[in-house]
């Protein structure tokens, strides 16, 4: 026990699950004005949606801060992550053509200039790839040891026609659920690297902007809800979607695309691929009649060849996700706290 009973922030509060949501609701949301928004802060969606005057569409705004260990990893780096994360949050609201991004850097004194240079280079390349220009920014330097090397905040702005945004609460009974590719790549790859496991094979992060892929899907049919399953993984995203729409979700675990490398590393580490972050994947609800067409369009996209229909929305079990494991059924729960490799 600590010397006092004072409540403190723990790493679990940042792990993306229920604890983080409670913290945000209690500390921040209750103290901030919402304004008149189609999607306000209190919705805790990937971004907010505000109507512009004169029918000029709706403004989508999102912001994200990025810290990651290690900062350069197989498949990407913190710069690519910072741009992709924000571009993807805009895309999850339906804003697939970002107008502008910001880049706010906080750097630890003593960091080699070359490190920052590599990160900036990567941000530039990724912003070009996503068609999302970085138009303003800020830089702060903190003392040695006051921050771990580099943290990046990016804010993104986009516009959608009024009323056409996609909320994460939009599922209805009968919708099919599609994931756009293999699950768990980023989280399992990073955990392996962090723990010093050198698994053979092609484990690497999937970090990438997915706005073009999302645009392709939205052109092919009615997408009712979307999330990019980052912290907390697919399990958290599905639970959020079920709970916000007050519907049940049934998932066929055997249909979820998971690479062989991720599956075996997950078993060795004792980590569920469904519970860890993805940085280049989407889980979306699609109207039943459109599901095949949307799936085909996604699969024809270079980022979507492994996409699959993994489940559907049901009226029973409101707010819960049922996983058919191929053997029996169980609830798919949100992971609690940071995912740690099995030790003993």
């Amino acid at each position: 026990m600590s010397d006092t009973d004072e409540e403190v922030i723990t790493e679990a509060h940042g792990a993306g699950g229920g604890q983080m949501r409670e913290l945000i609701e209690e500390l921040a949301v209750s103290r901030f004005e919402d304004g008149a928004a189609d999607v306000p802060l209190a919705a805790l969606d990937d971004g907010s949606v505000q109507r512009l005057a004169n029918g000029g569409g709706s403004l989508v705004v999102t912001t994200d801060s990025h810290v990651v260990k290690p900062q350069f990893f197989r498949g990407g780096d913190i710069g690519r992550l910072a741009v992709s994360g924000t571009v993807n949050d805009l895309a999850m609201m339906g804003a697939t053509e970002p107008i502008a991004l910001t880049c706010s850097l906080i750097v630890e004194a003593g960091t080699p200039v070359e490190t920052v240079e590599r990160v900036m280079e990567s941000m530039g390349e990724t912003s070009e790839e996503a068609g999302a220009p970085i138009t303003t920014g800020d830089t702060k330097v903190m003392g040695s040891g006051d921050i771990d090397t580099i943290a990046i905040n990016t804010t993104g702005v986009g516009v959608v026609p009024q009323g056409s945004h996609v909320p994460d609460a939009g599922l209805s009974t009968g919708d099919k659920l599609i994931v756009t590719g293999t699950i768990g790549d980023h989280g399992i790859s990073l955990l392996s690297e962090r723990e010093g496991f050198d698994f053979e094979g092609d484990l690497e992060s999937d970090v990438a902007p997915v706005n073009d892929l999302v645009a392709t899907a939205m052109d092919a049919g009615e997408v009712t809800a979307m999330k990019d399953p980052t912290r907390g993984g697919l399990a958290t995203s599905l639970n959020e979607m079920a709970s916000k729409a007050e519907v049940g979700i049934e998932i066929d675990e055997t249909a979820i695309p998971i690479s062989g490398a991720v599956a075996s590393a997950g078993e060795v580490l004792g980590i569920e691929p469904l519970n860890v972050a993805n940085e280049g994947k989407v889980v979306m609800g699609v109207e039943s009649d459109d599901a095949d067409a949307v799936l085909a369009a996604i699969q024809a996209h270079p980022q979507g060849e492994d996409a699959a229909i993994v489940g559907e929305v049901v009226a029973d079990h409101a707010g819960r996700v049922i996983l058919d494991t191929g053997f029996g059924n169980r609830y798919l729960s949100e992971p609690e706290g940071e995912q740690l490799p099995r030790i003993c």
Binding site: G270, D324, F327, G328, R330, Y331, S333, P335, E336, C344
Partner: protein, 370 residues
């Protein structure tokens, strides 16, 4: 007594085979015609059962209960207190990561670490001995786990470890715990799915006496979904035939004698003594302590620990870890489950380890009515 080793041509993750076995369970339960309770005594069994949703496949009337199968869960509070005392006293305490958050009487090792103690996570006993080689200070390996980790601890001790290395043994021996559970008045178990990992070391033959004495069938089982369903089917066959039999349903890893060199090593270094298993009871001959020959490496002797185990019991009145490990309650019957007791802030030890029943139920969604 029959020792049936059964059909081992198993496809471990074959849903079709699972369906056949489920049908077999149904038909066996029809033959038996009354409710049956099976207990497993291994956290990895619980993990596989929960992860693959196997409870949803079981026929009506067949219940699987968890026993004291998680070494972290049954490590007693005074044992944690001993480790905390040594850490606070300036020794380097090395232990498995799962032990860090287990609540002691006042503190966990994690708390001690936060207060400045040198507590290190290791993956093996030999890693702890390596730390001792590199450091001038005393290094104590807080050794927990059943036979599967006791044997490697023994291997380090017979290999002439550094002088500044010692072992605080909280190792436990599985078979006597099954006897205690079989004797608990409120625990009504018709058969045991015995722990495959521990049997890898000790061999399945070890359970013969237990089966004879308690007239309860036991099947040593593996950890794949098909392994478990197959083990359950063998148990139901014994129960249907009213035969207290023993079977090895984990042939690819377990033999009748076990790993003889590892077993010999273990019994060279350790001897059994009566000890308290957290939440269960005092269990005769179930704690492993260092034998006289290795007493120079016994942290209890070297540092003359006299832990003050008094003070408030952090297991609140509402915590039902004891009932869960005794097989009389499920984790979600605990009023603290997932609310006041979480993996980040465990009240009871069952919520700490990845082998702990409460942690497993929280992770895999408990027992769904689906």
């Amino acid at each position: 007594m029959a020792v049936d080793t059964g059909d081992q041509d198993l496809q471990f993750r074959d849903p079709e085979k699972a369906e056949q076995l489920t049908d077999k369970l149904e038909s066996l339960m029809d033959d038996i015609g009354e409710p049956v309770t099976i207990m497993h005594v291994c956290g990895s069994h619980e993990q596989a059962i929960a992860k693959y949703g196997l409870r949803s496949l079981l026929p009506d009337g067949l219940t699987i209960r968890m026993g004291p199968g998680c070494p972290v869960c049954v490590t007693d509070m005074p044992e944690v207190d001993e480790a905390v005392t040594l850490a606070e006293d300036g020794k380097i305490v090395a232990t498995y990561g799962d032990m860090l958050r287990v609540p002691g009487t006042e503190q966990s090792l994690d708390d001690a670490k936060a207060d400045g103690a040198d507590v290190r996570v290791v993956y093996s006993a030999s890693e702890a001995a390596e730390i001792a080689e590199e450091e001038d200070r005393e290094v104590v390996f807080f050794a927990t786990g059943f036979e599967t980790t006791a044997a490697p601890t023994a291997a380090v001790l017979v290999d002439d470890p550094p002088e500044n290395f010692s072992v605080l043994s909280a190792h436990k021996y599985v078979p006597p715990a099954m006897e205690i559970v079989a004797e608990l008045p409120d625990t009504d178990v018709d058969g045991f799915l015995a722990a495959g990992h521990a049997a890898t070391i000790t061999g399945y033959g070890l359970f013969e006496e237990f089966v004879e004495e308690y007239e309860t069938p036991a099947v040593v089982g593996g950890f794949e979904p098909i392994d478990i369903l197959f083990g359950l089917a063998r148990l139901l066959e014994f129960i249907r035939d009213d035969e207290p039999g023993l079977a090895n349903a984990y042939q690819r890893c377990v033999t009748e004698e076990g790993n003889v060199p590892a077993k010999e090593l273990m019994w060279d270094v350790f001897e059994t003594t009566t000890g308290e298993w957290r939440g269960i009871a005092e269990v005769p001959d179930a704690d492993l302590i260092l034998s006289e020959e290795y007493s120079e490496y016994d942290a209890r002797e070297r540092f003359e620990i006299e832990p003050d185990v008094g003070g408030a019991d952090p297991l609140t009145e509402d915590c039902i870890c004891g009932d869960i490990m005794a097989g009389t309650a499920d984790p979600d019957e605990c009023p603290l489950f997932g609310e006041e007791c979480t993996p980040q802030n465990p009240v009871g030890a069952c919520m700490v380890s990845s082998e702990g029943p409460c942690k497993i139920w929280l992770e895999y969604g408990g027992q769904p009515d689906i």
